[in-house]
Symmetry: C2
Subunit: 221 residues, 2 copies
Amino acid sequence: MIKLLGVSKYYQNKFDKTYILRNINLEIKEGEFVSIMGPSGAGKSTLLYIIGMLDSASEGEYYFLDEQVHKMKEKRLTELHKSHIGFVFQQYHLIDELTVYENIETPLLYQKVSGSERKGKVAELLDRFNMVAKKDLFPNQLSGGQQQLAAIARAIISKPKLILADEPTGNLHSDQGKEIMQLLKKLNDEGTTIIQVTHSEENAKYGNRIIKLSDGWIEKE
Amino acid sequence: MIKLLGVSKYYQNKFDKTYILRNINLEIKEGEFVSIMGPSGAGKSTLLYIIGMLDSASEGEYYFLDEQVHKMKEKRLTELHKSHIGFVFQQYHLIDELTVYENIETPLLYQKVSGSERKGKVAELLDRFNMVAKKDLFPNQLSGGQQQLAAIARAIISKPKLILADEPTGNLHSDQGKEIMQLLKKLNDEGTTIIQVTHSEENAKYGNRIIKLSDGWIEKE
Ligand SMILES: Nc1ncnc2c1ncn2[C@@H]1O[C@H](COP(=O)(O)OP(=O)(O)OP(=O)(O)O)[C@@H](O)[C@H]1O
Ligand SMILES: Nc1ncnc2c1ncn2[C@@H]1O[C@H](COP(=O)(O)OP(=O)(O)OP(=O)(O)O)[C@@H](O)[C@H]1O
Ligand SMILES: [Mg+2]
Ligand SMILES: [Mg+2]
């Protein structure tokens, strides 16, 4: 499903390049559940952003379902991202001007889903995450963990083929964290490809493969 | 050092009050290292904000070093907060327009610390947290864990009497998380009062007392 060949990412400042990712070669098949681990600053979020088409590599090739992502125009990238990918951001990035309900509903607006069907799906997730009482509040009125749950709900509601989750349980109590991991495992059993960045050995066990990133390099698996 | 008597916090919406904290009675002595635990939405961050004078209670009394906080004017609250308290926010709240160096240096600007002394203290923390290469970058150019480390550095640099840390290791690798907890323990051994909100049983062990918050109530200790 995903093929990265010789992918590098750097930032150019006045005098030199700061390499964040170096010569990444990575293949992930449909249906895998992969955990990316490594120290702070290793490049995990950067790698997830590139896979999720929210950023582009500085060098190398990226094939998504055999299409050449590194050659795509902005419009096609956005289309592909919206139709195939659900992303849980490390900093959530909920939209401040929309209510919790509207935030979670957003991905469904890009699909041809009827109003009543959207209502049912949002209601089901609000109920599952115990957030019904919060549906008309705005993100800044939620606790840290509630924002994380809303971000997760938004990422999974349209049943995307690929879920990218950047530290999805960092602000959750261990019981709630377990519930989220079990939910991801269930989606994976049903065919969803999942790539999570996690610092937790516990969370990594739900997947079937661990990729260790360090200083921009992938360590031998 | 801290005395909360009958403290409550609610938000008023059109028809009713949503109680976030209910009848909190809590005493914390100087030199304690307390961990506040509980599920998402329990009111932990809200309680920490009230203790840190960043928000006020709706009902009840708050005594800080025997002064009546609930009766203070804005100016006095800000003064007391800046001179006595270091706060690590759950969402970091670094200032986007300032570099990492400037963000960490900020608390020292409120003290009568010479320029060269400030430079030395910031340099020492940047080095300790392995962030020297990042000192001239802006917060949005840092990884999640690096932002958390910068937020921690800023909270401890002026050696405040009281450190309030809201989930200080949520985005850190376990080794880095341990380093931070050991650093807090060391500050506590040197006399700093520490109140942390944490979801981690592991982190709670560094303290000498656990307060369990649930639905706005403190459970019997
Ligand atoms: N615009 C930029 N300019 C310079 N360096 C940058 C920029 N953006 C990101 N970086 C650097 O990229 C590196 C990797 O960042 P990334 O967010 O991928 O780390 P990470 O592995 O996700 O870390 P964490 O576990 O802390 O979230 C960091 O060292 C960061 O400082
Ligand atoms: N302006 C507001 N209006 C209504 N409810 C609010 C507002 N601000 C906060 N709340 C509610 O206060 C409750 C407690 O929030 P708080 O941030 O203290 O929780 P928490 O215990 O820190 O949770 P977490 O572990 O997820 O960070 C939440 O249910 C939240 O929705
Ligand atoms: Mg990251
Ligand atoms: Mg909180």
